[in-house]
């Protein structure tokens, strides 16, 4: 989805919730759409600042929360309290593989797995709102590099 379209939807979202369409809020959304990769709250804060925009750290955090709530961004949790965001509107759902060596993130989709999850939830009478599937390990190049010392 284009940034323009996302922005439009965000404005609709805000209006529907009787929240105000403000400069800082728009700025955060626009920046989120400028990358196709994952980012942290702190990175977002830097982008807004460097982009000449106005939004304090507090507002960045508040807005990221809103964007997740509205389904514009997904928050993916890494260990150690680290949270990464990515824009998801208009993207098909996907899951992640995270490399323990270089921290790179591979995305993958698997419809079969999704279906089995739904089935698993239904069996327990559980109403799934969303899910997270993360594989941790080593990408092929890190595996080459680290394998020897991991086997010790």
């Amino acid at each position: 989805m284009e940034a323009k379209e996302a922005l439009h939807k965000f404005e609709d979202f805000l209006k529907k919730k009787t929240l105000r369409v403000t400069e800082p809020r728009k700025e955060v959304l626009v920046q989120a759409w400028k990358t196709h990769s994952h980012f942290t709250a702190e990175e977002m804060y830097d982008w807004v600042k460097d982009g000449g925009g106005k939004a304090s750290r507090a507002t960045v955090y508040r807005t990221l929360g809103l964007l997740v709530e509205g389904g514009f961004l997904a928050a993916i949790e890494r260990g150690q309290g680290q949270v990464l965001y990515e824009h998801i509107l208009g993207h098909r759902h996907h899951d992640h593989m995270i490399c323990l060596g270089c921290s790179s993130i591979l995305e993958f989709r698997n419809q079969e797995i999704e279906a089995l999850q739904e089935q698993e939830a239904a069996q327990s009478g559980f109403h799934m709102v969303h899910h997270t599937l993360t594989l941790e390990g080593y990408c092929s190049s890190c595996w080459q590099k680290f394998r020897p010392e991991l086997d010790e």
Copy 2:
């Protein structure tokens, strides 16, 4: 697995790594085996304290890290920097459904999903070390309770 057996393995693990078998370390392991549920670092600290044992908060954190490293405990990440631990040695791997209403945790196992994950990783040349699959939603009783207001 019994606490006694787990303790024995933990001592072996420490010796193999030339780490010392200390009272605080043993105390944390024993407490971890006293529950069959999930717990936080803070809860562990309280248990140790109330159990008359000795282990400062710092040592609890340090020891939990060791136990995860050794495969005695699994750390499951919830949002907001909340980390839960559970003992896994001798338990088959399982995944979680977390209720957004009452925070209860259901466990499930699905061998098909596991197999598909392996397959997915292999396809990308990714060497999976472990994975986390968490479904978030509402357990059947909370769904009854909250559904009306969620539909608003």
